[in-house]
């Protein structure tokens, strides 16, 4: 179980209650796709991602970024049990990313499980990259108010979320 001090809870609640989701969510995902271009592999259906300008102007990217950021709301409200909060969301991600098992006739169920596990393990790395970009976008918005103490609390929070999302298949 992750322990949170009163100060940490207050920092996290403060950040999220004053957050411009439309702006920060979009910017975080846009930044991730530009700074770590290999993460574009998860967004093949999003259309034009050819360069930084295209990514920055892509409405699907912006919309998804906002959606992902709102996905953190549950964790903010349930800081004492983030792992359980994301049990279903983790399954959702895994099922969307898995290879279609209809292509394999033999041992379909076992293959589905092993692909899901492989993908949930692989998903942790791009999630870390996105969370780094989110940290940096928020740092840019808050400026000196994003003190080392605030950064530590925020990174701890996001790390717990990333861990909860990646751990569902162990």
């Amino acid at each position: 179980m992750v322990e949170w001090s009163e100060k940490e809870r207050s920092i996290i609640n403060n950040i999220f209650s004053n957050l411009d989701y439309e702006d920060v969510g979009a910017k975080a995902l846009i930044r991730c796709l530009i700074v770590y271009p290999w993460t574009q592999r998860y967004f093949a259906s999003f259309g034009n991602l050819y360069n930084a300008e295209a990514i920055s102007a892509n409405p699907k990217v912006a919309a998804h970024g906002v959606k992902v950021l709102h996905g953190l709301d549950r964790a903010v409200k349930n800081m004492d049990n983030i792992k359980a909060t994301y049990a279903e969301l983790s399954v959702l991600h895994s099922e969307k990313l898995h290879v279609d098992p209809d292509n394999f006739k033999v041992h379909k169920h076992l293959l589905l499980l092993s692909f899901n596990k492989m993908i949930s393990n692989a998903f942790s790395i791009p999630l870390q990259l996105l969370s780094d970009c989110l940290t940096i976008v928020i740092a840019g918005k808050l400026g000196s108010a994003f003190t080392p103490e605030v950064q530590a609390a925020f990174q701890k929070f996001v790390a717990v979320v990333v861990s909860a999302l990646g751990k569902q298949y162990h």
Partner: protein
């Protein structure tokens, strides 16, 4: 992982570093302060300091030294391996800093740049600086083994 710096990356880093000029002391000490606060395991390398809090004299001094070295590396971007040879030997044989910490300091520095430069720290600048700091870390690791 080293992804070579393109000519464009180098230009972006140099242009951005012109903005950094004159603020190395503040930026460097903020980066070190953050590293110590956010990644407390890094304090192990500074057990000889009296005070590890943000803004303390040893943190400010060290931040200035580190940032001056990074700025120097900007001028040596075309041959980081050769340019940082002595520094690599220092880190490898004397300081014996685990190279995993280079990434931690780089992230801390990038966060500071974001807080200081805000919208000027665009995704394109972020990427170029990230690549540059990775290349610096690579050059610093050269003499380790």
């Amino acid at each position: 992982i080293t992804m070579s710096l393109s000519a464009k990356d180098k230009d972006i880093v140099k242009a951005f570093w012109a903005k950094v000029s004159g603020r190395e002391q503040d930026i460097g000490s903020e980066a070190v302060a953050r590293m110590l606060a956010v990644y407390p395991q890094t304090k192990t390398y500074f057990s000889h300091w009296k005070d590890l809090s943000p803004g303390s004299a040893p943190v400010r001094k060290h931040g200035g030294i580190v940032m001056a070295a990074v700025t120097d590396a900007v001028s040596k971007m075309d041959d980081l391996k050769g340019g940082l040879l002595k520094l690599s030997e220092l880190h490898a044989f004397t300081l014996r800093v685990d190279p995993a910490n280079f990434k931690i300091l780089a992230h801390s520095l990038i966060v500071v740049l974001a807080t200081v430069f805000s919208s000027d720290f665009t995704p394109e600048v972020h990427m170029a600086v990230d690549k540059f700091l990775t290349a610096v870390a690579r050059a610093l690791s050269e003499k380790y083994r």
